[in-house]
């Protein structure tokens, strides 16, 4: 064995990036707690929809932003989560809160399955096409597996139930959703700021160099996909609880484009960006309401403009504002 090369001796003080205390983060959900007191059932629903898209976006971002692979199958995880929750509630009569974890786990399983092409070395646009096929095949299964999924009519899911308390009011759902959104954000943040998240980023930037640093890239690709599936699956479960009626058409290519838009507008690879993107893209159609028919055109143009002029999304605006908002991948 070689001798120690460096002994961390008296270090010269180096300027650190400015940091805020971590507990400040908790002020955000805390400040959001009284929201239902001020919102009507319509606005509250839109807020809840934003909260659904928070896990959907952060999960998606792990694969396309952090791991940097062109996986076009996020709606597959979303749909699996929704259907798992729906089927367990409808066929087995389980309360919604019991179905959340299974929805996440089924999503993770789908994530693992979707990582197979990537593990076989398929990359770039070719990977995009492969994973697209995976998502569309699943949608075909939802349509065909009528006894379980209700086929093309979809299934009506009973109102969500948490510990025997039926959430039949948007304000009630809000608390459950806020808790889930916070949990998924915090867990994903912890994952990304550990050696796992750094490995994802290393694989994105230079796969060969990552392997040369002792990172078993395949294992991490699998992990990223599974985590993405897990988080997005939970988002799917929330979707089922919010909408109450799930149909195969909700998981089609249009939905995929929407989810892409959330991540791209928010900022690739940025957790904060995903949350911002979810908020912006979910509420955008509400602002476009006075122009029915223009929605697709405006939406397309919006994405084009963001890619051209704000390639790192809203998160980069924040980061430009103050270094505090720069995403970091370590803990000290």
């Amino acid at each position: 064995m070689a001798q120690p090369i460096v002994t961390p001796g008296p270090t010269s003080p180096t300027p650190r990036a400015p940091r805020l205390p971590r507990w400040l983060f908790w002020l955000i959900p805390l400040a959001l707690l009284p929201l239902p007191l001020y919102l009507d059932q319509y606005r509250q629903y839109v807020v809840n929809l934003i909260l659904v898209y928070v896990p959907v976006a952060i999960g998606f971002n792990v694969v396309i932003g952090n791991l940097g692979l062109l996986a076009f199958c996020n709606v597959a995880f979303f749909g699996i989560g929704a259907y798992t929750s729906g089927v367990l509630a409808l066929k087995l009569g389980l309360p919604w809160w019991v179905t959340i974890l299974p929805a996440g786990l089924m999503g993770a399983l789908a994530g693992a399955a979707a990582s197979v092409p990537a593990l076989r070395g398929v990359r770039l646009f070719y990977l995009a096409i492969m994973t697209l096929a995976f998502g569309e095949l699943l949608r075909w299964v939802y349509i065909r597996w009528v006894p379980v999924t209700g086929g093309s009519f979809g299934m009506s899911v009973p109102p969500p139930n948490v510990f025997g308390w039926v959430l039949d009011n948007e304000g009630h759902k809000y608390y459950a959703f806020l808790a889930l959104a916070v949990i998924t954000v915090v867990l994903t943040d912890r994952l990304l700021r550990s050696r796992f998240g750094r490995a994802f980023m290393a694989i994105k930037d230079n796969e060969q160099a990552a392997a040369a640093m002792g990172i078993p890239t395949d294992r991490y690709i699998l992990l990223a996909f599974a985590w993405s599936g897990f988080v997005v699956g939970i988002g799917g479960s929330m979707y089922a609880a919010l909408i109450g009626h799930i149909t195969p058409i909700a998981f089609d290519l249009t939905e995929l484009i929407l989810q892409f838009a959330v991540v791209m507008v928010g900022g690739l690879g940025s957790l904060t960006g995903s949350v911002l993107g979810a908020a912006l893209i979910t509420t955008a159609p509400e602002f476009f309401r006075p122009f029915p028919g223009f929605l697709e055109l405006l939406f397309g143009v919006l994405i084009v403009l963001v890619i051209l002029f704000l390639p790192r999304g809203l998160a980069s605006l924040l980061a430009r504002l103050h270094p505090l908002f720069v995403d970091r991948y370590y803990r000290d």
Binding site: L33, L49, S152, N169, Y175, H245, I249, E286, P292, G293
Partner: protein, 397 residues
């Protein structure tokens, strides 16, 4: 701990804040009645938006006559993009923000099913063209069908075919979506329960560019008739390819394709004459004097953007209008100070009411919120003359 306490306090506050049940006079003022008109104005299903403009034309016509009991209708449009999440948002906006009296429209069954629990809970009236029979069966206090659901249409398709005793072995060609299954499931039930046989349910997906497989399959299983639960484009392809391979079984198409356009685009009289039929929901042919009144209404009261870019209003405009006609009739009957309860009671009092458009008269009651049953069929006879049939080979009037 502190966090938990705050959470519990706020949650309790929200829970105890009495859920603001919608006022049963919501949307009614001395001068106006506010109506939410919801449908797909964007996305693939936007082709169905004449179902929203049809009733709007009628409301504008009524407004031009001075309104009902001195009140004029005020419509708030909302786009649901035929997507459940967007649809719920749209419906909630209409109900809680715009505070409309009732909802009209919502042609997409998925969206209608998704907003149903909310409408039920809040007692918001709905009248619309979504074909899913589960919307009004079992009866829900405030939801009404005054147009044909999938059950009536599907049974009419099968019933028309089976009114010809020679047609017993029937094949179904359908899209794999709720729309198609909404028609072909009841059709299939009807065939089986009336001594016929469903040989095979053949899939033909949206966007198909070729119907060779389906046509050859129909031929090889020896089907005597075909139920085609297909949108217009695929129906045209199927008819064309059946002709190409000499498959002579008649095709009964579902509502959802425009008969005239289909015939015109197949562009081959031999492929449709005495061979292609469709249930017919109107009392007379579109473009004939019996329906002229409505055509004038559309062209007079709708804007250029709301009308077809070319040609006269299509059958979707006519299919949409009974929704408004019956709604207005109920407002007339509900008296000078309408409330939701009075309006619903007025709806349920409607018997043998002739809309002037539909083949059947409207009959509603406390236990039955599906207003129409009987349909005709339309087709070209052996000479190529468009005919409305009451049963196989038997022309109506």
């Amino acid at each position: 701990m502190r966090l938990t306490k705050i959470f519990l306090t706020v949650a309790a506050a929200v829970a105890t804040a009495s859920p603001a049940f919608a006022d049963n006079m919501q949307g009614i003022t001395d001068k106006t009645i506010k109506i939410g008109n919801m449908g797909p104005f964007s996305g693939e299903a936007a082709v169905f938006n004449p179902l929203n403009y049809g009733p709007e034309a009628y409301l504008r016509y009524i407004n031009a006559q001075g309104g009902v009991h001195g009140r004029k209708f005020e419509t708030v449009f909302a786009d649901d993009a035929c997507n459940e999440a967007k649809g719920i948002a749209a419906a909630r906006k209409l109900i809680y923000e715009d505070k409309v009296f009732m909802l009209m429209g919502v042609p997409c069954s998925g969206v209608a099913m998704a907003i149903k629990p909310m409408l039920e809970k809040e007692g918001i009236p709905w009248v619309g063209p979504a074909a899913n029979p589960k919307l009004t069966r079992p009866t829900v206090p405030a939801m009404f069908h005054v147009t044909y659901t999938g059950i009536e249409s599907g049974q009419a398709m099968a019933g028309f075919a089976m009114s010809n005793p020679a047609l017993k072995k029937i094949a179904i060609v359908e899209h794999s979506n709720d729309w198609a299954h909404g028609y072909c499931n009841p059709a299939s039930e009807y065939i089986k329960s009336h001594g016929g046989e469903v040989l095979e349910r053949i899939a033909m997906e949206r966007g198909s560019t070729d119907g060779t497989t389906q046509a050859l399959k129909i031929k090889s299983i020896g089907a005597q008739a075909v139920m085609g639960c297909l949108y217009q484009q695929e129906l045209i392809i199927l008819l064309r390819d059946m002709q190409k391979f000499g498959v002579t079984a008649p095709v009964i198409g579902a509502l959802g394709a425009d008969f005239d356009q289909t015939v015109q685009q197949v562009n081959n009289p031999a492929a449709v004459r005495d061979k292609f039929f469709q249930p017919y929901q109107f009392k007379a042919k579109i473009g004939t004097p019996a329906l002229k009144e409505f055509e004038d209404m559309f062209t007079k009261y709708l804007t250029k953007d709301e009308l077809p870019k070319a040609g006269p209003p299509t059958n979707f405009y006519y299919f949409g209008i009974p929704v408004a006609i019956v709604t207005v009739e109920a407002f007339k009957r509900a008296g000078a100070s309408p409330s939701r309860e009075k309006w619903i009671a007025a709806m349920e009092s409607i018997k043998d009411f002739d809309t002037g458009v539909l083949a059947d008269k409207i009959n509603l009651s406390k236990d039955n919120h599906v207003g129409v049953q009987r349909m005709f069929a339309v087709g070209l006879d052996k000479d190529g003359k468009q005919t409305i049939y009451s049963s196989w080979g038997k022309a109506q009037n």
